[in-house]
Amino acid sequence: MIVDINFVGLIVASIMASAVPLILASCGELITERSGVLNLGVEGMMIIGAISGFALMTVTGSLIIAVFGAMLAGVLISTIFAFLTQTLITNHVATGLALTIFGIGISAMIGKNFVGIPGKEFPVLFEGLKDTIPLLSPILFGHSIVFYFAFALPFITSYFLKKTKIGLIVRAVGDSPEAASNQGINVRFVRYACILYGGAMCGLAGAYLSMIYTPQWIENMTGGRGWIALALVVFSTWNPIKILIGAIIFGGLTIIQFHMQAIGVRIPVQFLTALPYIVTIIVLVVISRDSRKIRLSTPSSLGKSFHKDN
């Protein structure tokens, strides 16, 4: 087979498109976890975002309302989680799992009326430039605004955590809520904000799936991507740039294995389908093997409840 340079560009573009929901959800969860809160409800928040976005798009006809509505839905459902874990001091793991189950159930219930309705076309940017530069054009141009936002997000997140005062506060709250509290920081408020932000990003990730990637509503359509996003956060050792690398490797291998099948590479298909999971973990473990750095970036009080009055 002759490898056409534009063909490579097309493959890279589809790899990047498939990485978008993982990047969005992971970067959102990263902020939540950096503040010391472990929210296992990513899958649930994503699916709520997916149905909310699709439902609002169908009912209102407005893509802007739908996208922001999906983020708001993510915020609302994560408020439940925040209230339970921060105000009522429940266990993070159990509450997060419940949130996922709740999200899948309620999205299926709302979604009953939206099955079998085709989605709307989502506008893309720079469509006209699509044939200007070989190889790079299909990668750079002709994508939705959410796509560009997702690829900027890891850098914004990294800058936010490292260079801004608010980022420092978030990290302080995640590392030592007692110390932060003694400094006069309202730990509960910061954690609420981080949980809600995580919810918004997961909602957006879900909306990307139901409105842009495969524009339709199908029950359970997130298909476990929320769990992958959660795993990416841990294996990237809470580093947004490594999340980006992990998401691209994961998305890339998923797509490349289909190409290998279509070309007729004689490797057992079961191995190929397992490849994205194995390789992503190996690569992230290898690039994150510096234990000093892991200690620095791991939120020390992750998943631990904080009582102000003790």
């Binding site: 099955v115 079998g116 495969t214 029950e219 797509i255 279509a262």
Partner: protein, 356 residues
């Protein structure tokens, strides 16, 4: 006199009792067990359309969705059998053993298992549809409409049902166009819109200009629409999801069979059998043909449809060779149902190996 009074009283009681039982027996309750959610717009969705037809025919129905093919299935079946259901449809292959096991415990309840082959007790029947007949039609259309001579096929799992579909499709496509190649990609899922779309995209990037699918979501036809290639709807009419891409769909039409069987229970005529219906019996339905298809092709497809229905044409008519060139079906012969049910080899012209 006294004796006579008592006797008549008793006999009228018995009569009354029999009448009541008869009246109750007419009030048949049917239950459906689904593997997926009714909102999948594919496999389970179509079974639920069938259930609604039963409801419309005046019977009470219940359904349980998202039942795993494990001990959970047994528990669900037992509960349905215990709660007064007279006939239970189990609509996925993996329910085969649970269905037979529970059927033994409830000899008065009828069980209908879709796509299976085990009927260990007299109250278990099996049914399936000859979807491969629909794929013969899709293959004919694909072979005619392709310009690149590369046809993509997104497959789910390597089981006889899927292999049979690939073979039937490829044989029909080769018949109208000996130069075509069928490229198969295994998605290893029945429905995951994201993954299915990615698989379709990979095939399109590799030059396929017609995409067939044996997975359930509408993501593939939508991807085809975006890329400007042709595709076919699976399980339900998917035209509205991709009006330009979808040339036709193969629909699963379970309603008539379900109504028949529930009525048979009501009339007391239900008996065990193995049903494998195709286009002829209306279990497999071809949706409307797209106007982009040339009129001579449309005519050809309509004739083929009629011939498949009447039995004049069989999807697997010899000579058929496997990939290595061994004869599978001799000239003038057709594959029997036993061979079709256990088909685990590709025919000549399909690229690649079956995942083991």
């Amino acid at each position: 006199m006294h004796k006579f009074l008592i006797r008549s009283f008793v006999s009228s009681l018995v009569l009354l009792f029999t009448l009541t039982v008869a009246a109750v027996a007419k009030d048949v309750k049917a239950a459906f067990v689904y593997i997926g959610p009714t909102g999948d717009h594919g496999w389970t969705y179509q079974h639920d359309v069938g259930r609604k037809a039963v409801e419309a025919a005046g019977f009470k129905t219940t359904y349980v969705e998202g039942v795993p093919e494990s001990a959970d299935a047994e528990r669900v079946l037992r509960q349905l059998a215990n709660s007064g259901h007279d006939i239970i449809f189990t609509t996925s292959f993996g329910y085969m053993n649970p269905t037979n096991k529970v059927a033994k415990e409830f000899p008065n309840v009828k069980f209908e298992h879709a796509t299976g082959y085990k009927r260990e007790h007299p109250n278990v029947a099996t049914y399936a549809a000859r979807f491969y007949e629909g794929r013969t039609i899709l293959g004919t259309i694909a072979g005619t409409m392709t310009k690149s001579n590369v046809i993509g096929y997104v497959a789910s799992f390597p089981i006889p049902e899927v292999i049979r579909g690939i073979n039937s499709f490829t044989l029909a496509a080769q018949k109208v166009n000996p130069n075509i190649k069928t490229k198969i990609v295994w998605a290893f899922t029945w429905y995951d819109p994201g993954k299915e779309a990615e698989a379709a995209k990979a095939l399109i990037d590799q030059g396929a200009d017609v995409i067939a699918q044996h997975t359930d979501s509408t993501a593939i036809v939508q991807m085809a629409e975006k890329a400007g290639v042709y595709a076919f709807g699976q399980a339900s009419d998917m035209d509205k999801f991709a009006p330009k891409a979808v040339l036709t769909s193969v629909e699963n039409n379970w309603g008539p069979y379900y109504v028949d069987r529930v009525k048979a229970v009501a009339n007391g005529t239900w008996s065990q059998k193995d049903t494998w219906h195709g286009i002829g019996d209306g279990m497999v339905v071809i949706s409307g043909l797209d106007s982009q298809m040339p009129s001579d092709l449309q005519a050809k497809v309509k004739k083929l449809q009629a011939d498949l229905a009447s039995g004049k044409v069989h999807s697997f008519t010899g000579p058929i060779y496997d990939q290595k060139g061994n004869l599978m079906v001799a000239e003038g012969k057709t594959a029997d149902d036993g061979m079709l049910a256990g088909m685990m080899t590709y025919v000549k012209g399909v690229e690649g190996d079956i995942p083991k």
